[in-house]
Symmetry: C2
Subunit: 214 residues, 2 copies
DNA sequence: GTAATGTTTTACCAACCGGTCAAATTATCA
DNA sequence: TGATAATTTGACCGGTTGGTAAAACATTAC
């Protein structure tokens, strides 16, 4: 008996902590490469090195694992945009935003793919977050960009599509990694590809937005 | 008896033609929003308005449907890049490439998502196409871009990352449609969003690549 | 019209899926 | 140490899944 399944808000054993972490890590592997429906508990359990019932002792359902992963991911995912500072100057802010997003694609590709999978399938599990907090945050930062434009610090452009294009270009290196590697070939697909991408994107956006050339 | 299942290269009945088309259309719906593993034959059959065994009379396996869709899609998908003309001038070529890719995101979002799903999951079914024809095509066009740069018609930049960034920004409007709509809100998420995107992207790339301002 | 061919349906199967249960095992702590 | 609570396991269940078999039904060609 004893129903500590997935923690009762308090009192988490060392084992609980450890196993839950292992499950989430394994689940991130599986969900990010198969989507929610395509993933099976057995796959996750095997990747985590435990039996299915044992896994279900820590997370009651497949959805519970998925939900936990999405919550964690969303937080870190939006952090770089949070950092966007209205008082900073556009060049620094945009340049470092691109850089941070690119670093996230490099260091957390599975999280990026988890998110991509979720959105691709219509965001059934994070509809509220998308329509609520995420939209609010983007609205806020779009306003910041607009003030920069009004102050003549930035070429006139649609701030929403600017944000979309930064998301798209940076996340591409995580979500379409297989394609990027294949196209670049063995010589150029090493870790250096992120440096190359950073150089290209910074130039593109700096010049494209009428900021001093890169 | 009679084993015409999925066509014996010749002699296709009107009914065959018609039903296969209906199946592929339904399958595109399902695969593009659930991925290969997440899709079920039953879902496809229901969407196509026929029984599962009936569907399996036309396509022997789930994989056969998926393979057919991917083949068709890849052809149309790469066509715009094919059109990239070395003798044209960079401004026209790049501008119309962006425009065509954006139109494809608008008119064939399901195809875009089918492709995105496949790449996200590691491209298990189109590995060969990616490493072969696709890479070759990109290599060829990257060379075209390089000659433009050498001729001083374009700012110096990495042609591969240029192509990636066009792919990423345009396909974003199909693959991340749910997010785009949510962020833009009801007022600005109408069909006009593609016009806005086109305007923004053309400006970004034209200026970013050192071509006359948009 | 009838025979051959093409199409659809009903019934079915074995494997897999998410999840439960109760018993067995292990860790914790007084 | 022993009692108690935490963890792990194997056996199991009902529903779903990809796919088959065979017969009923429809269409076409002669």
């Amino acid at each position: 008996m004893t129903v500590p399944r997935a923690a009762k808000t308090q009192r988490r054993t060392r084992i609980q902590e450890e196993k839950e972490e292992r499950i989430l890590d394994a689940a991130l592997d599986v969900f990010s490469s198969s989507g929610f429906r395509g993933a099976t508990i057995d796959q996750i359990a095997e990747a985590a090195g435990m039996s299915k019932p044992n896994l279900l002792y820590y997370f009651r359902t497949k959805e519970a694992i998925h939900r936990t992963l999405l919550e964690r991911m969303l937080f870190t995912w939006l952090e770089p945009l949070q950092a966007f500072d209205a008082d900073g100057d556009p060049e620094t802010e945009i340049r470092s935003y691109i850089r941070r997003k690119l670093e996230m694609s490099r260091d957390f590709p599975r999280e990026s793919r988890l998110f991509a999978n979720e959105i691709l399938q219509g965001a059934p599990h994070i509809e509220d977050e998308i329509n609520g907090p995420l939209k609010a945050l983007v609205d806020e930062k779009a306003e910041v960009i607009r003030t920069w434009i009004k102050a003549g610090k930035l070429a006139r452009c649609d701030p929403y599509h600017l944000i979309f294009s930064i998301w798209a270009t940076t996340q591409h290196y995580a979500d379409f990694d297989v394609q990027v590697r294949a196209v670049l070939g063995e010589n150029r697909a090493g870790e250096g590809r992120f440096e190359d991408a950073a150089r290209f994107l910074e130039q593109l956006f700096m010049r494209g937005l009428g900021i001093s050339a890169a």
